[in-house]
Symmetry: C2
Subunit: 358 residues, 2 copies
């Protein structure tokens, strides 16, 4: 296929530290429950999994926020748990409780049976990527994504969300060999999965290490970052004649920023506890930074949204060669009024122009 | 009263950066549900609140871990929510769900009615402190504590634990004046409360800023640290002829370590994501450090417990003038086998001797 010309590539250029006229933005979980039209499509699909596994539905909800807001990127509507589902762990989404696996990994036998899934079981994801690219028609770039091997492993061992990560940490401290085997398999699977997304048309990729920040210093490097690095090492670098930028987001990872920045990614996502100016001093301009508004600022009303957005842009400081992608430091809350997003997009696009030296 | 001579003051000396023969340790929530004898006393008391509000019960459970383990400090058995309970917010502990307030602060009117409680309503806490000191008979020092104004405020506005802090952050972003009023009242209350604990016999005090780490950079300083600093400024510095050291613990606060260290405290508590050696490089020897083992390491078996304890001690590095108090980076898990604590105490006391230059 010959791809249509990308009409707005400011997101890609900012990630690659090329001059841009303003700070681009997209929002984690921008296709989600705060949008009435999303809830309508989800109701038609019947369940979260049915929504994610049908390429027409996935395409429809991916495009919904772009119809409402002047966002600079689309992100594939999917879930970080598609890989373990394809491995046979039996994913289900329990209303009000989030994801749950019927067959979590708890015994040595469970771990020994685990294998890299046949990519054909994830074809629905790649089909969705292709369809979204077609429907986007070059409007903005499409981001593909996966969870980090560690973060996906947390769900595979815990079987669901956790507050103390006792199951996986018991394995980590008592049988690190078993955990390393899981992480090896996750690494290989994630690599194949992201490369297939790139081949299907993803123009940037993001690795969500949502739970890297629950690990002790030293163990984060051993059990999370080293595997993320191996995924990055194996990714297709160029596709359709253009570099495919990689973003790594570790929630609670600001203290490891130098090491994350050296992992082979083009950009690091940060949560709102970090100060972008201080982070920039620490890593120089070796990577772009993505973030980092507290999504709860969206509940403060228009003046607060504009003030807090400016605070993030001011913290990043003067821009010469891109390097900043505005985002939240976590997914948007389902309770966010959509009008608040309109205000945010306006403020980021308008206010940031003064910071860019073309 | 003339206090008995303190037989083991290694904890206090290490906090004040005086030479000690080994690294002292105590454990956050050391009097708790992982101990069968605690559960037995709690059953007799009937409820968590009845346990905390009766000085004999509170004394009994405070001393239980010291009978089992060679710990270097006792900590008052109480809760950070005693102050808002005394303010009339109606605290209850719902089984399996944690604390809940019958009357959370949600409206301007709620906030305007809030006042500093009469200390007589907290007399049961000071009575417990006096009784524990008597029963300890100089064995080890007793730590008093309170929540930070921000952390206690989170519970007062949310009404219970939270994952997104949407209620208090909505107030923060939309009506910061109301939140500042709550924090002012919490600050004054906390100050009086901790000083009364000191006068009743607390030999060190700790401020738990358990939720400081959920704030954005800039807002942490404005809404949490500035109020903690004011509490510290007003604390009684010496009692019974000895300095009363102050410890501040901000979960997820490693990125603000320089600012926390400059708040007027003698020691900073750290969670396990921080590397003690790197923190020490950043703050010099201006404060002692407390922490920072992942409490989940206790599920790894004896070899892992010893290895991870040594990792923390090695990370801190050579000790000349005290400066390290070993602890977890969070409360001990209720599922911890008590025998694991015996192993930990042995390893910390034994291994750390080689690091201390007397």
């Amino acid at each position: 296929m010959t791809a249509p010309i990308l009409k707005n590539d400011i997101f890609l250029r900012s990630l690659m530290r090329e001059p841009v006229p303003y700070t681009p933005l997209w929002l984690m979980r921008q296709a989600g429950r705060y949008l009435p039209e999303y809830n309508e499509t989800r109701a038609r699909a019947g369940s979260f999994l049915a929504l994610a596994q049908n390429r027409e539905y996935a395409c429809e909800v991916t495009l919904q926020p772009l119809q409402r807001f002047d966002l600079d990127a689309a992100i594939l509507f999917s879930d970080i748990l598609t890989i373990p589902h394809a491995m046979g762990l039996g994913l289900d989404f329990v209303a009000g409780e989030g994801p749950r696996f019927a067959h979590p990994l708890r015994t040595e036998d469970d771990v020994k049976k685990l294998t890299v899934p046949d990519l054909s079981k994830l074809q629905y994801v790649f089909d969705a990527v292709s369809l979204i690219r077609k429907e986007l028609d070059g409007k903005v770039p499409l981001i593909g994504f996966a969870g980090s091997p560690w973060t996906v492993g947390c769900y595979m061992v815990e079987g669901q969300g956790s507050t103390d990560y006792r199951m996986i940490k018991t394995m980590l401290y008592s049988r690190p060999d078993l955990l390393h085997r899981i992480l090896e398999i996750n690494t290989q699977s994630t690599l194949e999965y992201l490369n297939a997304q790139i081949q299907a048309g993803a123009q940037a990729v993001m690795i969500f290490d949502s739970w890297g920040g629950v690990l002790a210093d030293g163990l984060f490097q051993e059990f999370s970052l080293s595997y993320t690095r191996r995924v990055l090492d194996g990714l297709i670098r160029e596709h359709e004649g253009r570099v495919v930028p990689r973003i790594v987001f570790t929630k609670g990872g600001a203290q490891w920023i130098e090491q994350i920045a050296a992992s082979g990614c083009d950009a690091v996502g940060l949560d709102w506890t970090a100060n972008l100016g201080q982070v920039r001093q620490r890593v120089g301009d070796s990577v772009a930074l993505q973030g980092n508004l507290d999504p709860m600022a969206m509940f403060g009303g228009e003046a607060a949204i504009r003030k807090e957005a400016r605070r993030v842009i001011d913290d990043f400081g003067p821009v010469k060669n891109g390097g900043h992608v505005f985002n939240f430091g976590h997914g948007i809350s389902r309770f966010t009024p959509p009008e608040a997003v309109t205000v945010l997009v306006d403020e980021v696009h308008t206010y940031s122009r003064s910071k860019h030296q073309a």
